[in-house]
Symmetry: C2
Subunit: 310 residues, 2 copies
């Protein structure tokens, strides 16, 4: 028998392909949590599913007889055009309070909850968008109020945000993760990518990407040509390490060219991918220890909860 | 009833996915031609097929009772490791005669032909390889003996070769065609790419690629973000033009950074792709009129024929 819990509010990170939620008390303690594969795409693709029904199903046990509505604060794709209700993008530069104030409240039929969906961020000059990562940035800023520089969120489409003076000032998305996946699985380079790995080859590729900034589309082909040209038993650098270093290195070379004196770098993420970014940054003598993304998302949702219910 | 022809030799361009051949007389006239989908991959994938049988089947009508063996000169993937017989790469710098002298002769069971398979080119310092394009370069050099500069051969993996002093000095392969295909058909950008086109948007993207040489992986994402960020009825540049200009522009920016004073640029190819390269070069004030690739291949094979049978 599980012990009945009575959260003060629910924090939700509703992504494209899954969702995670946490039952929170008023002093930022996690009382319970849940996960589901019913991300935006699954709900948008099935007329029998609705965002409200999926949510209620996951939090039903936590809903008490309390007549006050339980606040549910959501970030991510629930606010996209194809989501629950569109939460129009906030423009950069943006303060955390701007984002929280941009929350929209969908009509819900269940009288026990009130729902707040946070907006994403957009940038008009150099066009760019994010949904979900802005809440991680808010959480990071709550934990590191004096930070000034660039925050990296690696992923399929990795994001780098310029943060300082209590604002998210600008950001840049890089298609590195998706480009790596397509090249390593579907291009001619797939014949050169296997389980082999070599840290020095990765670091070399990161260095080359920075020294030859225009050569990206050519450097990719050397992943294959290197093996064809090697004579006899000459050792060939593992393709996965060279390709990964070439792609991540190209991204990092671009960001570093934009760094102002005194800018810090922070890295949010976990696992293999975050370690690769850490190693690539180390090649350029930047030290960045990955910070856990889930805790930072929760810090960002907590900050928004304080505003929307304040 | 077709008129019986008696060629002096056969020219063959045997590629990965098809082959083309020509019946030639001794004064470079084309007496007949044939095409087949039986490229290297089809033959390597079917144990019932052999290179010799495929070839004889296509040229049977041209084989007379003349006791002298008919020379067949072949360039392309027939000389790859998975081809008819491996023709080891020639190293750059290479003269056309070096390539012709590197031809290998497979054993053939049919007494009526003698076969010469030309080698590809390889480059060891900055590893790179080509098979087939080197014969186009030889043909181009035969037609333009005083040319000094870079020759562009657009394609899935486009090649740029540095040519001068009667030699192919160096070359660079760019994965532009394959990267464009993967991104426009399989990445998130496929939602932003349709039949729409705009020459000015293409030229703008080419210019941006040159002005922001490190930004490639970010510029890709703006193809999508541009549409999401545009408000209301603001016109959005067609994704295909922006993506194509970003990819081809990145390639050309890299080549132009390597140009020495006085270097010319030549473009070999036909159709839409060659026109795009021509337009991208025009953005940088380089005039290059596409030259027909098939005629140049034939000129290169003719040059090799003169050497191997000389």
């Amino acid at each position: 028998m599980t012990k009945k819990i009575f959260p003060s509010w629910i924090a939700v990170d509703w992504g494209t392909s899954n969702l995670r939620l946490w039952a929170m008390d008023d002093t930022a303690n996690i009382l319970g949590s849940a996960e589901s594969p019913l991300g935006m795409n699954a709900i948008a693709g099935d007329p029998k599913l609705s965002f409200e029904a999926v949510l209620i199903d996951l939090i039903e046990d936590w809903l008490g007889a309390d007549p006050a509505k339980l606040p549910v604060v959501i970030c991510g794709m629930a606010g996209a055009k194809q989501g629950w209700i569109e939460a129009p993008y906030c423009d950069v530069p943006a303060r955390p309070s701007d984002l929280a104030k941009g929350a929209v409240t969908p009509n819900v039929s269940d009288p026990r909850i009130s729902v707040f969906i946070l907006p994403g961020l957009c940038q008009r000059g150099d066009p760019d968008v994010m949904r979900g990562e802005e809440t991680q940035l808010v959480g990071f800023m709550a934990q590191n109020p004096d930070f000034s520089g660039w925050v990296c969120l690696p992923g399929t489409h990795s994001k780098w945000a310029q943060v300082g003076d209590g604002m998210i000032k600008a950001f840049r998305t890089y298609m590195s993760g998706e480009v790596f996946a397509l090249l390593s699985q579907q291009s001619i380079l797939r014949h050169s990518v296997d389980d082999g790995w070599d840290n020095a080859a990765f670091a070399d590729a990161v260095r080359t990407a920075s020294e030859q900034p225009t050569a990206f589309l050519h450097s990719l082909f050397t992943v294959r040509a290197g093996a064809l040209v090697a004579k006899g038993d000459a050792s060939v650098a593992p393709g996965a390490a060279v390709l990964s270093g070439t792609v991540i290195g190209a991204e990092i070379a671009d960001v570093l060219s934009r760094l102002a004196p005194g800018d810090d770098i922070a890295l949010i993420g976990a696992g293999k991918l975050a370690s690769l970014y850490q190693a690539a940054l180390a090649v350029h003598n930047h030290k960045a220890t990955p910070k856990d993304g889930a805790a930072i998302t929760l810090a960002g949702l907590s900050r928004a909860y304080g505003v929307v219910t304040g």
